[in-house]
């Protein structure tokens, strides 16, 4: 027997990644391990609820992300209460558009991934590291995306080294693109983006940034049937998170209610068709 080189085992040391651990020891728990079997014709996308519009924008000292509360299945509303924006860890948030079931699982896995790394290594992951881990997760979902079950996240965080808010968008192949100023994903993103282009300004303060996000989602809901607007009857408002040097914080419903009411009365007073 050849003498064993003890140093050769270094690269086999357990990694700090929770996803790697799962794929080695419990692959059945990974969201991407689900298979629809041999490529069936037709799309599975119509069978599952789809989550829609997410907007994200930078402001003075941080970055903000907001999502509407609607999930659709074909022409039906699957959920009015769904939350699509979640904190990933203390200094980052992510929002996901696409197949809701897979998206929620991916968010949960990503949250554990970041926390796991932090606990094993004793230090938080860098913002670029986090965005790259998310890219790998999106990429592993590619086979399902080709069968109509795409998941498209938007990731935003406060870079504690550069002292600035940054945001990243992804495509279904795991391509990672850093976005500047603002970005949106999901079915209503075209309309939200149009609104953001007119409403966003450099160095917005936090309150104005929240107002801009709520208004751009309102515009998306106005033209896209899959995006939900503020629901006065059920008292449902968008989910909004801000991230700055102090960490992330969810904007309380009370403030969002006030902003939504103010926005609707302003639009009502204007009385314009579009």
């Amino acid at each position: 027997m050849a003498p064993r080189d003890p140093a050769a085992s270094i690269h086999q040391a357990p990694s700090s990644s929770f996803t790697d651990h799962l794929s080695r020891h419990r692959p059945e728990l990974l969201p991407s391990s689900r298979s629809l079997g041999p490529a069936s014709h037709g799309s599975a996308g119509e069978l599952a609820p789809q989550a829609t519009t997410i907007v994200s924008l930078t402001y003075a000292g941080g970055v903000l992300m907001a999502g509407d509360r609607r999930a659709t299945m074909g022409n039906m509303i699957a959920s009015r209460h769904i939350r699509k924006v979640f904190p990933a860890d203390n200094f980052s948030v992510l929002g996901i558009a696409g197949t809701a079931g897979l998206a929620l699982d991916m968010i949960r896995l990503f949250q554990v991934e970041l926390e796991h790394y932090e606990k094993i290594e004793g230090t938080p992951m860098s913002l670029d590291g986090k965005s790259n881990r998310l890219a790998a997760m999106v990429r592993s979902n590619l086979p399902l995306a080709l069968q109509g079950l795409a998941v498209v996240p938007l990731f935003a965080g406060f870079d504690t080294q550069r002292r600035a808010g940054r945001l990243f968008s992804y495509d279904v192949t795991g391509g990672r693109y850093e976005e500047y100023e603002h970005h949106s994903v999901g079915s209503g993103s075209v309309f939200a983006r149009g609104a953001l282009k007119k409403l966003w300004q450099p160095n917005l303060d936090e309150e104005d940034a929240v107002r801009v996000a709520v208004e751009s989602l309102y515009d998306a809901a106005d033209d896209d049937s899959a995006t939900g607007g503020p629901d006065m009857v059920r008292r449902l408002w968008p989910v909004v998170y801000v991230v700055n040097s102090a960490g992330n914080r969810e904007i309380p419903e009370r403030e969002l209610q006030e902003l939504s009411r103010e926005l609707i009365s302003r639009r009502t007073a204007a009385g314009l068709e579009a």
Partner: protein, 246 residues
Amino acid sequence: MTQQFYVSPEQLMKDRADFARKGIARGRSVVVLTCREGIALVAENPSPSLHKLSEIYDRIGFAAVGKYNEFESLRQAGIRFADVRGYSYSRDDVSARALASVYAQSLGSVFTTEGKPFEVELAVAEVGEDPYSDRLYRLNFDGSIADESNYTVMGGQAEIVNEALSRTWNQDADFGSAIRTAVSALSATRSADGSGNGQGPEPLGAGLLEVAVLDRDPLSSRGTVRAFRRINTVELDRLLSSAEGD
């Protein structure tokens, strides 16, 4: 071929236990104690980066003495166990009891089957809603497990620290005074091996200590479900010096 000599199982186990005990006795002590505000973990550890205390899960902390490579691999395995359990079931289904029991099994099987036992002692602490639901498990190198109440001490010269704590531990203490109690109990070992100049032991400074706490209610105090929080040197210095002001 050499002839294997017969060694009785009693002798074999005794030799292994003596070996492990010797290794552990060389290490510095760690104290885990409960108090009104939660659970405090205090270790004598001059290294700022090679930790003896760690977060395992939302309400569960870990403390160890002995060989670093051995308890570090156990710590990482514990985090993986807890994260897999929490991910596949729910965050509420991760308990210190389950973790302590897998640690006990792993330590026990290494003790009996491997060439050399682990030279480590571990403590697994879970902070509860109130002091009565705090859980504190202490694991030995041979896989034996003890359900401790109030406080536990591990490492070399544990008896001296234990004796000091038995006089000074107080259930109603806040974190500040619980940490001061633990530090003065740990400092008691310094007179035993020091010159013994009659002025009492010199207290350990913040630079020689590693301190962490498990908050009883982290959600209302810090807005997170993760109870584990390290006390950095600056904060620790302030905590320790406020004792002198009393």
